[in-house]
């Protein structure tokens, strides 16, 4: 974008934030789960990476392979089932043999249900943390027949969580209308109603260049946080979403006995000097009880 502004200036990221920040958020979640394992079980953290075979997971796997050891966790292996795998018992057996007590999951398709269900049925002694798009949906509990208990995934919204004053009315209205908690795709609402419409009104015309100039310099609240478009090192607009404390962070949610509750950010600090972030309604992360035997 910075290199060819005139070609790409009409393109804006609405949701979610880019894959670099998705990985950063996942690492924050791994950090929380790893600290919980150390505190509660007093054992070293051994992490397995399980990612569906898809182009979007490749860069995340590479980043995870490089970062997990730096976080003080032992990386025990990488498994890549098909995104539509209907049986992952082979992978689960190998993961259990590896001694992993934390599984970094990167799933967007049906394998997320298969993996969670079979891991729960087999009581694999490890907590699942990462991205599991199916686990973001209300239907996950029924789809896994309750075996997806304690699965921890990134999500945009959760019942009872207030990132700011816009969150609660948005989530409640969405649930009333569609019967489930909004996922990240629902942020199209914010991109249009809170991003584009006020910019057109401020421009007072439909002149695209005037609207772009306004959008590039706005900062505004959306139900998931605050939107501010980034600039690169040279100060050129990237039209990418700013991630971090005070802006967009997303949530870490966990299935706890049939309810999808939010467990992150809870006293989270992006860096030692960064402000602590906690959203209203957070609860502590729970490890599967069968890990404690």
């Amino acid at each position: 974008m910075g290199e060819n502004y005139s070609r790409y200036k009409y393109w804006f990221r609405g949701a979610p934030f880019n894959d670099r920040y998705l990985v950063a958020t996942s690492f924050a979640h791994l950090g929380l789960a790893g600290a919980t394992i150390k505190n509660e079980l007093n054992v070293p953290v051994k992490c397995a990476i399980v990612a569906e075979k898809a182009a979007w997971t490749e860069a995340m796997i590479k980043a995870a392979e490089a970062t997990i050891p730096k976080m003080g966790f032992e990386l025990v292996g990488v498994w890549q089932p098909s995104d539509k795998a209907t049986d992952v018992t082979a992978e689960l057996s190998a993961i259990q043999k590896s001694g992993a007590n934390m599984i970094f999951t990167i799933f967007s398709a049906s394998v997320g249900i298969t993996f969670a269900r079979q891991a729960g049925e087999l009581k694999i002694p490890a907590v699942q943390v990462g991205i599991n798009v199916e686990a973001q949906k209300d239907g996950f509990w029924e789809a896994t027949k309750g075996m997806g208990n304690y699965v921890f995934t990134m999500n945009s919204y959760a019942r009872g969580i207030e990132v700011n004053e816009l969150t609660k009315p948005f989530v409640e209205t969405y649930i009333k209308r569609f019967g489930e908690v909004p996922t990240y795709t629902a942020d199209t609402y914010s991109a249009i109603n809170l991003g584009l419409v006020p910019s057109i009104e401020a421009a007072g015309s439909l002149d695209a260049d005037k609207i772009v100039a306004i959008m590039e310099n706005r900062e505004y609240l959306v139900p998931g946080g605050k939107v501010k478009l980034e600039r690169d090192k040279e100060g050129r607009p990237t039209h990418d979403l700013t991630w971090g404390p005070g802006y967009l962070t997303s949530l870490g949610v966990q299935w706890q006995d049939g309810k999808l509750v939010a467990v992150w950010p809870n006293k989270w600090k992006a860096s030692p000097t960064a402000p602590e972030v906690t959203y209203k309604g957070m609860v502590p992360l729970k490890l599967p009880p069968w890990m404690k035997k």
Binding site: G77, P81, A94, R117, E121, A143
Partner: protein, 287 residues
């Protein structure tokens, strides 16, 4: 141990699908692309009957098989039979039928993934490997059905007629066998077996309107490997590919997604080196 169990279960499922597919191809030269779509319909029937209507899972399975068989017979009577002599037309019509089933399922159940409860929950440990009770039950039931099918084909008059027609349709016809009626009966048996596979596999898999596509491709690989139309060939090839898939998953963890590709590579190699498959025949004239 895991390889053996996974291989046996995958192989058994493929055997049921491939044998039933081979059966109707052998008898009536019908390439039923909708075969695995019937398997999908059975799985969704069980989902509805047990989940929505609270029916006993075994009763749900039996009803699902009956429903699918009726669908199969209707499809044969009104869609396949009128165009049966035109193999390409049958192929296209059954593709269309599969797509209709897919879209109907999508309309009724949406694209959300669904699951069915296991008949027996839990697992046991053999030599350090956790094995689901449902997997063992499924394997046992599949073996019983395969044995019943063998009995039907080898020890009954109907089986003799089916085998005779599969071997040489014209001679069987000259000997007084009603070719059309036999084709319809075989279609019923074939679809019932596909439905049964869907029924027993439903608790072990994730249901989606597209779940018929992947097994279709692997089933085709089995049928080609075994020899088109050969029931014995399908049986042996199903276990070869079942164990191949299990080996790929266990031996190459990072390449678990390759299991389907390996099966298809074997199919292509067989086509190149031995086009008739393991137990097939080279040319139509040999029939």
């Amino acid at each position: 141990m895991n390889i053996i169990i996974t291989g046996l279960i995958t192989g058994s499922m493929l055997a049921l699908l491939a044998i039933s597919f081979s059966l109707i191809f052998g008898v009536a030269r019908i390439v039923n692309i909708a075969h695995t779509a019937f398997y999908m319909v059975a799985a969704y029937c069980i989902f509805s009957l047990t989940g929505k209507f609270g029916l006993n899972p075994v009763a749900g399975m039996m009803i699902a098989v009956v429903v699918v068989t009726v669908f199969g017979l209707l499809a044969y009577k009104f869609l396949i039979d009128p165009i049966r002599e035109h193999e390409a037309a049958v192929l296209i019509a059954t593709i269309a039928l599969a797509m209709i089933f897919q879209e109907a399922v999508m309309l009724i159940y949406t694209g959300d993934y669904r699951t069915v409860s296991a008949l027996i929950e839990g697992y046991f440990i053999v030599t350090g490997v956790k094995v689901f009770y449902q997997q063992v039950l499924t394997f046992g039931v599949v073996l019983v059905v395969l044995a019943l099918l063998w009995f039907l084909l080898m020890k009954t008059k109907l089986g003799l007629a089916i085998r005779s027609t599969a071997e040489d349709r014209e001679v069987a016809n000259l000997m007084g066998m009603n070719d059309s009626r036999l084709a319809m009966i075989t279609m019923g048996i074939s679809v019932a077996l596909a439905g049964f596979t869907g029924a027993v596999l439903a608790p072990l898999t994730v249901l989606s309107p597209f779940m018929w596509m992947e097994p279709l491709i692997i089933m085709m690989a089995v049928v080609v490997l075994g020899g088109l139309g050969s029931i014995k060939g399908s049986f042996v090839a199903a276990y070869i590919l079942g164990f191949t898939e299990a080996l790929v998953v266990f031996m190459i963890p990072k390449g678990a997604f390759l299991k389907g590709s390996v099966a298809l590579t074997i199919m292509i190699l067989v086509l190149l080196l031995r086009p008739e498959g393991l137990f097939g025949i080279s040319f139509e004239e040999e029939r």
